[in-house]
Amino acid sequence: MPDLTPSGQSILRSARGSSHFLRETLGRYYATLCGDLIILLTVTMVAFITVKGLAAFTGPHPLSPLKFLFSSHWQPDADPGEGGPQFGTLAFILGSVSVSGLAVLLAAPLAVAASILISVIAPRAGENFFRPVLELFTGIPSVVYGWVGLSLLVPFIRNQFGGLGFSLLAGGLVLALMILPTITTLATDALQNLPDSLLEGSYALGATRWQTIHRILLPAARPRILIGVTLGMTRAFGEALAVQMVIGNSVRLPDSLLNPMSTITSVITMDMGNTVKGSAWNNALWSMSLLLLAITFGFIVIIKRLGPQDTKNGNHF
């Protein structure tokens, strides 16, 4: 076998040589097994959720996939007399898109500006102060973000702008705060991994720091910054409880910043435990889970297209 590592047999001729060889083999098998297990786990998860998610579209009363995706008529418990239950999820899909989109719009500019401070302008304070603080905050549980949204933000919005307070705006703000540390850390990594020669060359040519930042460093780091933003979006899109607590959970197309609405994850969170296993309503919820999985895959594809992921600091899920 063309292998740089010693096989154990030829080198160790002592009496214990064979037990070393056994351990060598067992160790290798164990590590390989763990690696394979990760593939198995991922494949199983995708397969099971796919099969379960497709159940609603087959069987005696199949749901039309087009209606499921493009109708906003969601009446899961309507009687047959009223036209039967309706499972159109468009309102929730748009709800998820708008709340996570709003979160990224609010968070990304601040995150990128802060990452420039940390990596270019004040690198020492960045390394000793900002980075540890950001790391501290990526670990805060999402229910805590949701609770602050519910106890502080919702009443504030109600008093300032009227309405219920439970709104797209509240959801977007809570998610923005939640993904700020993630995007900032990833954007900082992107800027710090640029070769020093870019900065030095630009300074040597007489450019000011701002000119260097916006003409040289930001364009060079752009793909990696976009990966960070996409990862933040992925996290916001998949967040369930923090959003559910502040968004109001009413079936409604997202038509105003101040109106309550629902997202894919909030509907799953609310109804999965209350519906009968195997019922049309329950099956529709599993189809929404499959949709969530598919959209997450879409985000992964976008991230892969944008370039190789940073292996040093990885992603922050």
């Binding site: 590592t5 004040a122 790391e135 501290l136 229910v143 705060l177 999965m272």
Partner: protein
Amino acid sequence: MATTSDLQSGRPLVQGNHKSAFRNDRIATGIFYAAGIFLVLLLFAFAGYIIYNGRASLNLHFLTTPPLFMQKGGGVGPQLFNSIYLLILASTLSVPLGVGAGIYMAEYARPSRLTRAIRLSLETLSALPSIVVGLFGLLIFINILGWGFSILAGAMALTILNLPVITRVAEESIRNVPPALKEGSLALGATHWQTIWRLILPAATPGILSGVILVTGRIFGEAAALLFTAGMSSPPLNFSDWNPLHYVSPLNPLRPAETLAVYTWKVNSEGLVPDARQIADGSAAVLIITVFLFNFLARYLGKALQKRSRAC
């Protein structure tokens, strides 16, 4: 002055007017400082708000007594216990697997289809929303295997969440071990596994340990993956019965177990206690303080162990 072309735009990098270039530079610097300071103030205000509001609950009574039904003054004792128990079980399951997979990726994997498949699986697992992991747990452990809402199902779901992160941390820490260590060991006639077990793993331990503690802190606050696996109820527990086979024993792995994070979420929607707000304030404070403590511990242990291994 000499103008130099920007390669991309073809425009001069430093345009005619020096003064405006320097003024813009100062304005931009000011804006970046403002953004960074605003960000940090926002985060500190957030943490301060939670801890300030929850300060009244940071006492032994709140942390050890069970919740009350329809009356004020209940605590979060069982929930806190459940969180810690789940965390220990999940770490016991996920650390050996994650470190094993990390060893594989750092030491055995070659550029092959299999390695690429593992890499892609790891990326997928870490990008999955935790509610999807919870739903998978519901499907497999509750619906198919019929365990019912249980600590065991919850621990499995948390293991799935942990696995990609621990694998990545282990792989990185192993890759950061100086190659001379490995080469020296192999040259002395040690087998590959002996080298991994006796030299590489001990040298990588500080990195792995601080990574594991950090992850553990994060799953302490996980709720979405537990709603449909560990469940949203906590049966009455008898804290003097430590036989894991008894139903009222806190150690029974097949009983439903609401964690602190799940309780924080649920207490608002249920309306079964009049002091829901105080309870949520208190448990949010406990959650955030625990996460911070884990973070400090990871930082401290990582540094301390590194210093010791350098001293040898």
